[in-house]
Symmetry: C2
Subunit: 451 residues, 2 copies
């Protein structure tokens, strides 16, 4: 496609919208993540000499390859802030660029935003279940190869406290946290000696895995012996970890036995196929678990496994563009746009985002995208314009943000979203409306292309 554009309309100017069509996990919202990575890549994106050799072998023409040799992304990006709460069927990000450039970046942009938004959302659901408990990402061994690197980043944006992924910790400045494996205890054969050696070498933040042979009769008893020895040495055992069996039962028993041994400060860590529903159930049962290690279900975004975000052309050389579908919800929105979020008197999200043409001054009314009987007055509401310049002519114009800053921002945004939109079962549906002008323009285009 890029080569065809290069030959037929090299100066075409395009606007593309990034958005998704339904919330992941049957939930009521998503957490937008991946933006900083996309912007960083766009600032440095180029084709290497070996890339160009390969593309030449694929039959691309010399003139086009010369264009690619000097390729840089010079476009503009307006976007929701990374970490914001977002909803379906409204632009989260818009790219405005030469159409060749806008086309070449499509897959990278979709790949990073779809995945990190999925995982940040999953992480946030787990955070909601876990309430104040500490959450550790332990998923790298089951992650999708190198994609696990970005899963660890997105998990923190969604509310996790740390990761076992050391490289992600290093690069994204995320707290890292080690785990003890069963093999460590097996290598000793003698569980007590394994615990003693571990506590001696790493007394700080020491967590002992107690289910290798028998949780309550062996692992916990040996952990208590080591905890007492640590006390004599002026140290404190941080925790014991449960990784199999009935976690609710074992956590309660473990808590009681630890407390009876005057080890009330020793924390209980739990892992093993956890997700937001298992953690909610453990909480509902009163399982006294202080730290949850979440792996596979977090980093793979199970059960969804993907967010179906799309990248649709909405304007070309100033003219509106539309993609039709037999499924009306899949009809795209034309024109460069802005999205306004309505706020109530307390500054909470009112539950309505209005999508308008970028050129519109004031939006006093929003209409249901398809149901002509539904509309809503926006008069008197405070509002925020959500799409802001983050890249102009290929250069970042928003200050760089750390993962921790993005996570804090996300938390503050979620606090503004009423609880009804956040529940797992049949969450309240956040309204997305169109300005009357945008709706009219869209409907005109639909008619124009109708068969």
């Amino acid at each position: 496609m890029a080569q065809v554009y290069f030959k037929t309309k090299p100066d075409g100017r395009a606007v593309f919208d990034y958005y998704y069509r339904s919330n992941p996990f049957n939930g009521g919202y998503a957490i937008f993540a991946g933006l900083e990575d996309v912007l960083d890549i766009l600032e440095t994106l180029e084709f290497s000499a070996s890339d160009l050799v390969f593309l030449e072998q694929q039959g691309f023409e010399k003139e086009f390859l010369e264009y690619l040799r000097d390729f840089r992304f010079n476009g503009n990006i307006r976007s929701s802030k990374e970490g914001d709460v977002v909803f379906p069927n409204r632009p989260i990000l818009q790219v405005e660029a030469n159409i060749i450039e806008a086309q070449i970046i499509e897959t990278m942009l979709l790949n990073l935003l779809n995945f990190q938004t999925l995982i940040a959302t999953k992480a946030n659901r787990v955070r909601r279940s876990a309430k104040e408990a500490t959450l550790l990402d332990m998923g790298l061994r089951r992650a999708h190869a190198t994609g696990g690197y970005y899963a660890s980043r997105a998990a923190v944006i969604g509310g996790f406290d740390g990761t076992s992924n050391v490289k992600a910790g290093e690069d994204f400045n995320i707290p890292v946290s080690g785990t003890m494996a069963h093999s460590f205890i097996q290598s000793y054969g003698d569980e007590l000696q394994a615990f003693r050696d571990f506590a001696k070498v790493r007394p700080k933040n020491c967590v002992l895995l107690i289910d290798t042979y028998n949780t309550l009769r062996s692992g916990l008893q040996n952990a208590i012996i080591v905890a007492k020895e640590m006390e004599n040495a002026g140290e404190q055992l941080m925790g014991v970890r449960l990784d199999s069996g009935d976690l609710a039962y074992l956590a309660k028993q473990t808590r009681k036995i630890l407390d009876d041994a005057n080890l009330g400060y020793v924390k209980i860590v739990a892992s093993n196929q956890l997700d937001e529903f298992v953690i909610k159930s453990l909480k509902d049962q009163g399982a006294p678990i202080d730290i949850f290690g979440v792996g596979t279900n977090l980093v793979t975004g199970k059960p969804d496994a993907a967010l179906g975000g799309v990248y649709k052309l909405s304007e070309f050389n100033g003219d509106p563009r539309i993609k039709l579908s037999e499924n009306i919800i899949k009809v795209s929105l034309p024109y460069k746009k802005q999205v306004y979020r309505m706020l109530d008197k307390q500054g909470m999200f009112y539950g309505a985002d209005a999508v308008a043409m970028f050129t519109e001054d004031a939006v006093e009314h929003m209409e249901h995208p398809f149901d002509a009987t539904k509309s809503m007055s926006l008069r008197g509401f405070d509002y925020e314009a959500l799409l802001q310049d983050v890249m102009t002519s290929g250069k970042k114009v928003s200050p760089p943000r750390t993962v921790t800053e993005i996570a804090e921002y996300s938390k503050s945004r979620l606090e503004k979203l009423p609880e009804e939109y956040k529940r797992f079962q049949n969450p309240h549906i956040y309204k997305i409306g169109l300005s009357s002008q945008l709706k009219q323009e869209r409907d005109k285009l639909v008619l124009k292309h109708k068969f």
Copy 2:
């Protein structure tokens, strides 16, 4: 763990088994993939200066950091061949190494083998449904960030013909195949002109996407006009692509209309949320689709999203090691081992792999791992020893294999697996047995650690 080993048993020699516990996708087998990548990484694995600085900040001790500065993997690996058909609860690969080295590589090894084995297996299921049709991986936009790179590799091992992932194509020498997006047609507004330009610039392997406005009344009609114009120019339109609507109905109508226009050579390409079940249904309905583009469900390994492969210590300094569990199927197998695959008189897989201690000479009998009433004589069977040396003292000893070679090998192995094991619904269960000696040794260890 590595630092504790370094301080307490720096010369410990470990054997770890890689295996998984149940077949992905409720199927009867898996395709082992990812080995060459693991071996390549192991040959060059080291800690960078910045890694060491970060680890120092994490509180690791100076002596241990000095060890890491010179770290190389010097161990031995015995493995099934990449691309082979494998089954649960038997070692697929064994690592024999200094325990610090064996520990440090664990996550990388699990990450790459779990993911690629998952995707190669998924791809093979799609290949089984698609029969002789061409299969293209189009999943990168929904893949788990950079993990999509390895998904494209594994897809070819499982039976795919090509990918839209250009970087994977370049690095793994996989055929690459472009796609036309709806935005291309939208940018023109005029669908016919878009098709004409595309065919003019890229007449070779030209596939036109015909569902942007209306598949049969607009897209197909314009494609036919362009196909005829290409004929006049001495070219041939390769295909038309359906990406929405009822693919069975549209494919049949499209075929008929193309044939009526004397365009019997124009192929039909279909995409849109395909997986092995949708493709099987399309085939069962007689949908005349020549090429399937498969995306999200392939590269995310939906619905499983992960293979739960594990890495368990089975021997330490020559002594057997075991991990117990309340769930008997999760009890690990001690000792360095070999796996023997039984063959019938025609050289087909008989449906039984026997796991034995590495030191055993002849295995004439295999027993059910848990059911004492079940056993089977192995006398008179031909067999293969599946675990072969692939790395010795940190150096690859098996000749490097291209992805294409691995894919061909995989195909040849699947041809030896009877159909009953390959069906989607309630596949026949491939037997995994233990030699009498291994079973006795395991049971002895279980009793020793019993509480």
